[in-house]
Point group: C2
Chain length 401, copies 2
């Protein structure tokens, strides 16, 4: 058995991100940019007014002065003339500052009377002017390669004049469930069988992680059938299987994939839930074999599939980041396997997190997993821990999971 950290390091080594594709700006949210986005223009393009008011020469605009209104320049309609001494031009937020003006008298500090503008407060030079290039200049990198695009980045890319963006293609992830005992939801269930949940949960996790799931038909517990099913994953960036990787006689997935040239790297990890994890490559394609228990499959999905998805998407492939919390209830000592306890989170009065493990931790209890807010990490051989002790947790909400 190898440690969780070693398994993560081996899985994330030598990952190649997907190549780039072009997407419209309106479809680029959450995608990872594959090249630096350099501004195609300078923003603001000229000195602009930051307020509604009057463009003036600051030397003229002393408190008590009266200026003559010579025109108006709404945003998008620059004033074509040049401002001379004693003059003012009506302007608005976003208006280009007319030639000859060096400040804005805001309208709250002015009184207008026909063509006369009375100055009620003196104006400093440069006041309420947004300088050309204050936000960014043409050629400047506004979004660095490898960033996942937020709504703010989408706005920034628009302002930098990008109708299209180069982003990494969504990783295509084939999901293969195996087992004679499982049926699709709503379909006939074999005697003693259960409804397949792993493939659907993992497909959702793949979507949440920016990938494109390809859910393959369920393969019967037969080496040839599994090989044929996995063959349908050709062209995928990653193949994920669930079930069939246990220590019993039914280690069929590995045998099935071996027919397609699968080379196993490792397949047992010192963790709970989820010991029987398998990793390797089929040609260039990474293959991750997750346990069949739904809780184990999803916990391993967060620990191993999630960072794989990030790496394939062009992000830095790192194990999911933990948060610190205090224990809401004591925990016993741990054995040699790293433990990931399903737990509730609440807030202490000082705003810090309090994590309380569920009393029952069976790896087949999906309902409790769905109700959990986090996993408490218990390192191998961790001693018993009292209420209030600090522990590391993986918050599901931190990953949108």
């Amino acid at each position: 058995m190898i440690s969780v950290a070693e398994a993560q390091a081996r899985i994330l080594a030598d990952l190649r991100p997907t190549p780039a594709e072009i997407v419209g700006l309106s479809e680029a949210l959450g995608r990872v940019v594959a090249a630096d986005v350099r501004a195609r223009l300078t923003q603001p393009p000229a000195d602009l007014s930051a307020m509604d008011g009057y463009a003036v020469k600051s030397a003229d605009a002393e408190k008590g002065a009266i200026l003559r209104l010579i025109g108006s320049a709404p945003a998008g309609h620059p004033f074509s003339g040049t401002l001379e001494h004693g003059q003012a031009v009506r302007i608005f937020t976003g208006s280009v500052i007319p030639q000859g003006a060096d400040a804005v008298l805001i309208q709250e500090d002015a009184a207008r009377d026909g063509e006369c503008v009375h100055v009620r407060e003196s104006v400093r030079p440069g006041r309420h002017i947004r300088r050309a290039g204050q936000d960014f200049r043409a050629g400047e990198v506004v979004i660095p390669k490898g960033k996942k695009l937020t709504p703010r980045d989408i706005g920034l890319a628009a302002a930098a004049n990008y109708p299209w963006l180069f982003v990494h293609r969504r990783p295509r992830v084939a999901v293969l469930s195996t087992g004679d005992e499982i049926a699709l939801p709503g379909e006939p269930i074999p005697e003693g069988g259960i409804v397949s949940s792993n493939a659907h949960a993992l497909a959702a996790l793949i979507r949440a992680g920016g990938g494109e799931p390809i859910v393959l038909p369920i393969a019967r517990d037969d080496v040839g059938v599994i090989a044929e099913a996995a063959n349908a994953a050709a062209g995928a960036d990653l193949l994920v299987s669930t079930g069939g990787v246990s220590v019993g006689e039914h280690d069929l997935v590995q045998s099935g994939l071996s027919k397609l040239g699968f080379e196993v790297d490792f397949w047992r990890i010192a963790m709970r839930p989820g010991k029987p994890l398998m990793y390797g490559r089929m040609g260039e394609t990474p293959v991750l074999g997750l346990p069949g228990n739904p809780v184990s499959a999803l916990v391993c999905g967060l620990l191993f599939l999630w960072p794989l998805l990030l790496g394939l998407s062009g992000l830095t492939p790192e194990p999911p980041a933990t948060t610190r919390a205090r224990l809401g209830a004591p925990l016993g000592a741990n054995d040699k396997r790293m433990d990931f306890l399903r737990a509730r989170l609440s807030r202490a009065e000082d705003g810090s997190w309090v994590a309380t493990a569920f009393p029952v931790q069976d790896s087949a209890m999906l309902k409790l997993l769905a109700e959990a807010d986090c996993l408490i990490l218990r390192p191998p051989h961790a001693p018993a821990a009292a209420t209030g002790e600090s522990v590391e947790v993986l918050r599901f909400a931190a990953f949108g999971l």
Copy 2:
């Protein structure tokens, strides 16, 4: 001017969530369930083995005993007979426990020799058996109404035998940008004009919040044109406008919408950035008028549009939740307007957040907003604050923004 909290309370009062629609399980991630999801079956459906090994009578399985192997029951292939004293049936994780057996001897504790199974460790009654209904029972609520579906919930709904789910329809949100000076990215830019960024950033925010954006064509600064453009929002669950809600002569959006029966509730908020915010209703449809400055539009988007989206989606409409952080640099005293400072976040050695405001806070600087990790909240009249003082922040990552 009204406070941010009052504006949020007024916006979120009397919100009606969208009606339900049916979506396939594979499309339900991130949707909000519109009715309790009750399990359609009991899980596990029968007592199942939690391990690979042998089904036995615990009374027989004392250390040193030899049992006779009478059959095998892989998962999905239950053993049809009844186990008698001195017998064992080969079983696997997920296999139905045969009639007559009351425990599982795990294979690590057994040695097999033809039809003989040597017991190496005594077995307690009930050991390694997952009881029928341990996860959930038919009829039990497994996902409560109003929950946003995570990948774990998708797995749970599958296990509960749901191929379809009732979810709230995605709120349709029409986005109207106005202004003679703005152009779409990649299209000809008028003299003194800029590229429109607000509509694209807001559309992305709407998507991130579970809504379906409808980006209306840009309306010129003309009351009639604005009225016609807004009319195209018929059938939307919410209309969001940007720009044209300032205090100057160009308050065109309100005039335009008034032609369509718009009734304004309020339109000035004691906050920075973002004072000129407008809210009201056009018939049944809520209308949110955001400022034209890109930073103001997005900050107001998080404070007011985001909770509106949650409420329309069927979630509890609440102002976005803050986190506590310590200041990484001192802040001056605040005036009467609540301030939302763009800031970086880092982690202190004890794992707590440290927020450091950018020195420049101009509301037109979109690049700095995109680089920010959070907004530091500065209440009205907050006194100067020293490095290390505790403040409230809105973490963009906490909202997936």
